[in-house]
């Protein structure tokens, strides 16, 4: 792994979850999840659909309250109105007719939670322009949000989240529905944002390989449980087998990591079925 990216001294803890459990309608969705996020680091929240990634996001965003455990921001409880967290949802499903340009969406990141009509100001416009430039979005700044391509929308939403100058940026499956070129662009952009702005970036993904080159830490989620640390510490057969509750193999192929169900689990209907032996780009 990248040496400069190792967790170490000088990095400030931004968020920590301590033994967070969540019960919803009689089911335990999260079981004693603990991890911490640090400034300047990019963390991957890896797990299959239904593993609990989205629920962890909701807990961090304050949209769900944990049944047990603590969520701390820089060591303190979460304030109700939190501008220090930027959030990029997986999809927004905006109609192409909605009169909102990419730059309007970015401006809403600045003050979309405020009441009243905003007065046009030079300072406001300038900040929006700077932000559009930072994510390389000038080319489509005046396009309707509903008409943006997947990669363009992703970059616009990142600018929307970043303009409020959060200390933590959460992205829900930002690489889903992107072609490989846009995927690499978005990953590179997020890595540079984490370093340049010294903020903590948490990216959820069901596929960890696109994130391997830039990921400082991994939080691996399976059936509501999580293991966290560096990739070497977490993505190992003993750790993941314990997490899944049955044996899994971790294979290294050409710099990619494949997590597959063990021999005795031929019919893998469980969460691991997403991590099948065919990686992206190989047939």
């Amino acid at each position: 792994m990248n040496e400069t990216a190792r967790p170490g001294a000088g990095r400030e803890e931004i968020l920590s979850l301590e033994g967070v459990s969540l019960w919803l309608s009689g089911r335990e969705i999260l079981h004693e999840v603990s991890f911490s996020l640090h400034s300047g680091e990019l963390t991957g929240l890896i797990g299959s659909n239904g593993a609990g990634k989205t629920t962890i996001f909701k807990v961090v965003l304050g949209l769900e309250t944990p049944t047990a455990g603590k969520v701390l921001f820089s060591g303190e409880a979460r304030p109700r109105r939190n501008r220090s967290i930027g959030y990029v949802p997986q999809s927004i499903g905006l109609d192409p007719d909605v009169p909102l340009r990419a730059r309007d969406l970015v401006a809403l990141g600045l003050d979309g939670d405020r009441y009243g009509i905003p007065l046009p100001s030079r300072g406001r416009r300038q900040r929006v322009d700077e932000m559009l430039q930072a994510v390389d979005a000038q080319g489509f700044a005046d396009t309707r949000v509903g008409k943006l391509s997947g990669g363009e929308l992703q970059r616009t939403l990142i600018a929307h989240a970043l303009i409020a100058e959060p200390r933590l940026l959460l992205l829900d499956e930002p690489l889903a529905n992107l072609d490989i070129t846009s995927e690499q662009e978005v990953v590179g952009l997020l890595a540079s944002i984490a370093k340049a702005r010294a903020i903590a970036v948490l990216i959820s993904a069901h596929e960890m390989n696109p994130l391997l080159p830039v990921m400082d830490r991994v939080v691996y989620v399976a059936s509501g449980r999580a293991a966290s640390g560096s990739t070497e510490e977490v993505v190992r057969e003993d750790v993941l087998s314990a997490l899944y509750g049955h044996h899994v193999d971790v294979l290294h192929v050409n710099g990619r990591i494949l997590v597959v169900a063990g021999k005795d689990e031929v019919h893998h209907t469980g969460p691991e079925s997403e991590h099948t032996a065919v990686p992206r780009g190989l047939g």
Partner: protein, 321 residues
């Protein structure tokens, strides 16, 4: 000079500007349409057209009930539409599909009650005109005494929309982003429904309960074809709403002199017809602009794909997934 006067006289039939009912219609009808159009922009953006239509139908129950007990129909419209807004929000909770079903059920109940009230009202007092007034409005019979009430309610609806402008846009983009930023999404939604209920009630009186949806949705839909900017969309909607109503009033006034009837056509008909015409025209304009833009872009865009759009990967290797 004489030609000009003759031309003006041909457009504005005699007495147009001196008639008291016409002046009230111009002020009240114009204001109401403007408010409806502005509120309607968010109705379209939030995908709540069905709720807007239902409020008109619910208002019918209130309006006919008020007529039955001898009160001003406006109060009936407002009471029922506001109660309906609350019911829709209460039943519909979070799921858009559930919201539609809830709205449909509330709407059906409203129309049933309206049928009963109109039946009772018209059979007792033998005024079939009430049905027409409630369903299709009557801009020329609004008394001057009601003007302050209309102005106050209009200001209330506009005030709510102005206050919630940014949170409404943000929660239309993503409910989750808005909630995470601390926007009380449900309260904002409920307040917006309230503004919509007031706007619809007002246009129930002027343009009619059945046609109120046209004033709410039509100018907004046309405006959305014409601009990409939220502020401009609202401005366009306001202008269109005002223009079609004033022109509708003028045409209705002039139609008293038209053959063969010689007794005038309803304002509501002209307003709705004009809205349709404006929408069709706006749609044609936007298609033309899009085609024109497309040509410019495609000629400027080289084979390398300038313009920021990532080219799709078409290699056979990347295609497997």
């Amino acid at each position: 000079m004489i030609a000009v006067i003759a031309f003006v006289n041909a457009i504005f039939e005699p007495g147009f500007f001196t008639s008291e009912p016409v002046r009230v219609a111009l002020v009240v009808g114009g204001a109401v349409s403007l408010v409806s159009a502005v509120v309607g922009v968010f109705t379209v953006i939030r995908g709540q057209s069905f709720a807007g239509h239902s409020m008109g139908d619910l208002g019918t129950a209130g309006g006919s009930g008020a007529f039955l007990v001898g009160a001003n129909p406006l109060w009936g419209f407002v009471t029922f539409a506001v109660l309906g807004a609350g019911a829709m929000e209460l039943f519909g909770a979070r799921r858009p599909r559930g919201r539609d079903t809830a709205t449909g059920i509330v709407l059906g109940a409203g129309l049933g009650i309206a049928a009963l009230f109109l039946y009772l009202g018209t059979t007792h007092s033998n005024t079939t005109g009430a049905t027409i007034t409630i369903l299709f409005g009557s801009m020329f019979v609004i008394g001057t005494s009601m003007i302050p009430v209309f102005v106050l309610l209009s200001a209330l609806a506009l005030g709510i929309v102005a206050l919630l402008y940014r949170p409404l846009l943000l929660s239309a983009v993503s409910r989750d982003i808005a909630s995470a930023r601390g926007v009380p999404v449900r309260t904002v939604g409920l307040l917006y429904l309230l503004a919509m209920a007031v706007a619809v009630s007002l246009s129930c009186v002027t343009i009619g309960a059945i046609l109120s949806t046209a004033v709410l949705i039509g100018p907004a839909a046309a405006a959305l074809r014409l601009t990409r900017r939220p502020g401009l969309a609202i401005a366009w909607a306001a202008v269109i709403g005002l223009a079609v109503t004033w022109l509708g009033i003028l045409l209705a006034y002039d139609s008293y002199y038209w053959p063969p009837l010689g007794r005038g056509w309803p304002v509501s008909f002209f307003v709705v017809a004009l809205i349709l015409a404006v929408y069709v025209a706006a749609d044609l304009v936007s298609r033309n602009v899009a085609r024109h833009r497309g040509r410019v872009v495609s000629s400027a865009e080289g084979p390398a794909g300038v313009g920021g759009r990532a080219q799709p990967m078409l290699s056979p290797v990347a295609g497997v997934d």
